[in-house]
Symmetry: C2
DNA sequence: CAATGTGAATATATTCACAGCT
DNA sequence: AGCTGTGAATATATTCACATTG
């Protein structure tokens, strides 16, 4: 079996890759609304970006559009899903059953978009046995067993930062190949393991920068319209 | 007052800006460990990146290092904080008191890193009055009042996607200038309003891509070591 | 001497602009 | 006629490599 067809295909540039989930989501919405064809202009509009970028991004998947017409929503959806491996339905484990871990477990978004939660783990006895995402929270010692039994390859890390590295070690030892890290810790992982980091507070801090600029600009504009003191033109 | 000194300074490139929170965090940890000086090599090591990149990033803030020595941890910390406006302690509002909204409200990370939660809002009567982040959940109709009273300029959006655009509109109308969007919806906002988006499920989908590649590569390696069928070298 | 700060070189990403299909 | 797919142009980001300086 497994004939020649499943082309391994060249790597998709990071920037383009990071936008595929967005396109996928927009296509899903359009599909729900009964739309069957979509142009790069429309996609760009809906994604809040440039049409050329959309076309180039999609071109990395192959030539799946029709000139003069646009893209078939269902077909393009399928191709993006295939590229992202969303035909496999990856089971994930969540490590850390605090506020964030529980929220992620209960969050519809993951299961809705095709990820099943194979287990939620913690080391805190007070959390173990509690419910999270419809499953009981297990002790971290059971991680390896679950990962192997359910063939889990993706782990979500939502522990306090002090526990992050150790938890990551356990994930890797258990056999997980990719980690989504919600802790602000920079993880050391063996070569070959992929990590993506989401720094929630960091995102806010960046907004702080923009707000500060806005404030400074506003002040500057005000100063400009008021009589200048001290500095001459 | 407000003399010439507060240099508005040139814009920091996006890529560099996005790494400042990371440096800040690493500096904080080092400081806690009593470290007083740090070199770009060390920072790079801790951040998992190239030292030249660290130096260039920091150079956008000004020349705050000492040749032959490195950076003073406390001073550099201060400069980054200043650049990110973290001397102002921005109050934020959270819209959406579902699993995620509550988790964010309760999440230590925000307050720990200097953001105070001015209010949590929802439209669901069953959630209103409940506790989130130490405060009672209020009805979204009170948003504007709170934003104005507490001078809030940053909003966190954690509603279901159907409610996201309307909630964003309300945030903007209330006077918020920056939005951290945890919904997968692409928000339409007036020019001048900043939005950063965190697509939780999207992040997982991207990991799916890497896992799929890993699987394909593993299969290819295996095939290579086994007798080839059909294709000749 | 050791480590910064930065031009110059390279690599990635975005955008333009248009030839090529349907 | 309209929209894709893509080279070529531009813009951004990363990395190199070294002169500069405490």
């Amino acid at each position: 079996m497994t004939p020649v067809s499943e082309s391994p295909r060249r790597r998709i540039p990071e920037a383009a890759l990071s936008r595929l989930p967005l396109y996928l989501r927009i296509l899903g919405e359009r599909s729900n609304e009964g739309v069957v064809q979509v142009s790069s202009d429309q996609l760009a509009e809906l994604a809040g970006m440039n049409a050329a970028k959309v076309r180039k991004d999609l071109s990395y998947l192959g030539s799946y559009g029709t000139r003069g017409v646009g893209y078939d929503v269902a077909f393009l959806t399928y191709q993006i899903q295939r590229e992202l491996g969303l035909n496999h339905d990856w089971p994930i484990v969540i490590v850390g059953a605090g506020n964030l871990g529980q929220a992620l477990a209960n969050h519809g978004g993951f299961t809705e978009r095709g990820f099943s939660i194979a287990g939620v783990f913690d080391t805190d006895e007070s959390k173990i046995g509690g419910l999270a995402g419809g499953a009981r929270v297990r002790h971290l010692d059971e991680l390896s067993q679950v990962v192997q039994a359910k063939n889990v390859s993706i782990g979500v890390l939502a522990t306090p930062s002090e526990a992050a590295q150790e938890a990551a070690n356990r994930l890797v030892r258990a056999g997980v190949g990719s980690i989504l890290n919600f802790t602000p810790t920079v993880l050391a992982v063996p070569r070959g393991v992929s990590v993506r980091k989401v720094d929630l507070a960091g995102e806010l801090q960046i907004l702080g920068y923009y707000e500060q600029r806005r404030a400074v600009n506003a002040a500057a504009r005000e100063a400009a319209s008021a009589p200048v003191r001290g500095v001459s033109a």
